[in-house]
C-alpha cells in the first residue's frame, strides 16, 4: 500500500501544548494538551459541536491557536515549510475542484515532487481502490455525496502522507461502502501512516481505534487506550455519552443547569 517512496525525514511527533481557539469572542477549544506519535490510530468522539472538527484543523495547521503551541518535533520539521506536504486531511464536507475526478487526484500530487509517470500510476491505483475508476474522466462535482467522500479519501491517500486527519470519513456512506472505506484506512495505516479521525459511529470507533479521545464543549475530557475506554470510561460525561444519553439536548428545557454544573466540575 506504499504508493511512492519518500526519503523525507519524519515530522512526527506532533505536540499540542495548552492550545485554545477562539472565534467571534467565544472560546471554542480550551486547554488542549496532547502528543501524537507515529504508528497509532486515534479516534476522536463526542457530541455535535464538541469541537472535533476545529481540533483537527488546529492540528493540521489550518487554524491558528489563540494561545498555546502546535509543534512538530520530528527531524523533518526542521526545514519548515514542507511540513504540510507530509500531512493530508479529509474534510467532513468534501471540497471538489472544478476538474475531472482523475485531475482532482492529480492536482494534489502537483504539490509533491513526483515524476509524471509515477503520478499517473498513483492516480490509477487510488481511484481503483476507492471504486472510482469508471468515473475518472467525469467532472468531480456531479458525483453523488458518497462518491465525493471516497474521492476525497483517494486524494489524501495519493500523497502518501506521514499523518492523515479524517473528519467523519464515512458519514454519507452506505454500510458496505463504510466497511470498504474502513479497510482502506486500515491499509493506509498499515503502510505506516498515522491516523487521526473523528466518528459518530461508536462501532467504527471500536473497530478502528488504538486510542480514543472524548471531547465535550471544546475540552478533551478523556484520552485513553480504546479497549480501556470502551470498557470503563473514567469521565462521567464520557460514560453518559457511551450509554447514549443526551449531553446537550435538553438544554432548552432544563435551562442548562445540569450541564453547567458538570462543566464546573471538569
Amino acid at each position: 500500500m506504499i504508493l511512492h517512496k519518500t526519503n523525507r525525514p519524519p515530522i512526527l511527533p506532533l505536540t499540542l501544548d495548552n492550545v485554545s481557539f477562539e472565534a467571534k469572542g467565544m472560546r471554542l477549544i480550551k486547554d488542549m494538551t496532547c502528543t501524537f506519535e507515529a504508528a497509532r490510530r486515534t479516534v476522536i468522539i463526542g457530541p455535535n459541536g464538541a469541537g472535533k472538527s476545529l481540533f483537527l484543523r488546529l492540528c493540521h495547521g489550518l487554524l491558528e491557536p489563540a494561545s498555546g503551541t502546535v509543534r512538530w518535533s520530528g527531524p523533518g520539521a526542521k526545514s519548515g515549510n514542507g511540513i504540510k506536504r507530509q500531512q493530508a486531511m479529509v474534510f467532513q464536507r468534501p471540497v471538489m475542484l472544478r476538474r475531472s475526478v482523475a485531475d482532482n487526484v492529480g492536482y494534489a500530487l502537483k504539490y509533491q515532487t513526483i515524476s509524471k509517470e509515477e503520478r499517473r500510476d498513483i492516480v490509477q491505483t487510488v481511484l481503483q481502490r476507492t471504486g472510482l475508476q469508471g468515473r475518472a474522466q467525469q467532472p468531480a462535482r456531479i458525483l453523488s455525496g458518497g462518491e465525493q467522500q471516497r474521492l476525497a479519501l483517494a486524494r489524501a491517500w495519493a500523497i502518501s502522507p506521514e499523518i492523515m486527519f479524517l473528519d467523519e470519513p464515512t458519514a454519507n456512506l452506505d454500510p458496505s461502502a463504510t466497511h470498504a472505506v474502513e479497510e482502506i484506512i486500515q491499509a493506509i495505516h498499515d503502510s505506516g501512516t498515522r491516523i487521526v479521525m473523528t466518528s459518530h459511529d461508536l462501532g467504527q470507533a471500536r473497530r478502528m481505534a488504538d486510542d480514543v479521545m472524548f471531547m465535550h464543549r471544546g475540552r478533551m475530557l478523556e484520552h485513553a487506550p480504546a479497549d480501556q475506554f470502551f470498557e470503563a470510561p473514567q469521565n462521567d460525561l464520557a460514560q453518559a455519552f457511551i450509554r447514549g444519553e443526551l449531553l446537550w439536548w435538553k438544554r432548552g428545557k432544563a435551562k442548562t443547569e445540569n450541564s453547567d454544573q458538570r462543566n464546573r466540575n471538569i
Partner: protein, 234 residues
C-alpha cells in the same frame, strides 16, 4: 416612425454595403475597446484577486471604492486623462492626446474598477470554497492564485465582458481625449454623437443598431462557449 424604418434601412445598407468608412470606424472601436479591456484585465484581475485573497488595512475601503467606481462618470475620466495628457499636463511631452492611445488609456481607467470589483467577488467566493483544501495541500493565497483564476475562468470572462460592454458603449471619455477626429480617433459612439448633432438621426440610429448587434453577438458567442464548457467541466 419613418425615422425608425429609415434607421433600419440605413443600418442594413451600412452593414450589407460593407461601407469602408464604417469598417474603419468599427475597426478602430474594436481596437480601442479590446486593447483597453486587455489592459484593464491585466490590472483588474490581479487587483481584484489581491483584494479578495489578502487581508491588509483598508481592505474594506478598497472594496467599497471599487464598487463605487464601477459607476465612474466617463466625462470625468475623460477630463482627468485629458488634463494629464495635455501639453500643459505632466505627461504632455508624450504627445498622446487625441490619439487612439489616449482613448485606450481613458477606457482602461473607466473599466478597470468594473473588472476588479467583479473579479474580487468571483475570487472571494471561490476562495471561500477552496481555501481549506488548498491550504491543506500547502498552498497559500499566492500559490493558489493560478488555480483560482483557472477554476473561476467562466465567471471571470463575464467580468471582462461587462468591462468590454461598458467600454464599447461609452462616449464621454473617448470624445474628450480622442476628439472624434475623422480617420484618426472616430469610433462608433463618437460617430453616432456626431450624426446626432448633424441632425442625421437615421444614420445615427443605424450606427447604433450596428453597435448593439456587435455587443449582442459577442455576448451570445461567449454565452454559448461558456454553456458548453460548463457542461463539460461541471
Amino acid at each position: 416612425m419613418t425615422d425608425f424604418s429609415a434607421a433600419i434601412g440605413s443600418a442594413l445598407s451600412l452593414v450589407i454595403g460593407f461601407d469602408p468608412v464604417l469598417v474603419e470606424i468599427i475597426g478602430l472601436s474594436l481596437y480601442v475597446s479590446l486593447t483597453a479591456v486587455l489592459f484593464a484585465a491585466i490590472i483588474g484581475l490581479p487587483l481584484g484577486a489581491a483584494v479578495a485573497l489578502f487581508s491588509f488595512p483598508g481592505r474594506t475601503v478598497i472594496t467599497v471604492l471599487l464598487n463605487a467606481l464601477m459607476g465612474l462618470p466617463p466625462v470625468v475620466v475623460g477630463l482627468v486623462v485629458y488634463l494629464l495628457l495635455s501639453r500643459a499636463g505632466p505627461f504632455g511631452v508624450l504627445g498622446l492626446l487625441f490619439s487612439p492611445t489616449a482613448m485606450i488609456i481613458a477606457q482602461t481607467v473607466l473599466i478597470t474598477p468594473i473588472i476588479a470589483a467583479l473579479t474580487r467577488q468571483v475570487i472571494e467566493d471561490l476562495w471561500a470554497e477552496y481555501e481549506d483544501l488548498l491550504r491543506s495541500f500547502g498552498a497559500g493565497p499566492l500559490r493558489a492564485l493560478p488555480t483560482l483564476i483557472w477554476d473561476g475562468r467562466f465567471s471571470l470572462v463575464t467580468a471582462v465582458l461587462a468591462g468590454f460592454g461598458r467600454a464599447s458603449a461609452e462616449v464621454g471619455a473617448v470624445m474628450i481625449v480622442g476628439g472624434n477626429i475623422d480617420h484618426v480617433t472616430r469610433v462608433m459612439t463618437t460617430a453616432i454623437a456626431l450624426e446626432v448633432s448633424k441632425g442625421d438621426l437615421a444614420l445615427a440610429l443605424g450606427l447604433g443598431i450596428v453597435l448593439i448587434l456587435l455587443s449582442v453577438g459577442i455576448n451570445g458567442a461567449v454565452f454559448v462557449v461558456r454553456r458548453m464548457a460548463e457542461q463539460r467541466y461541471g
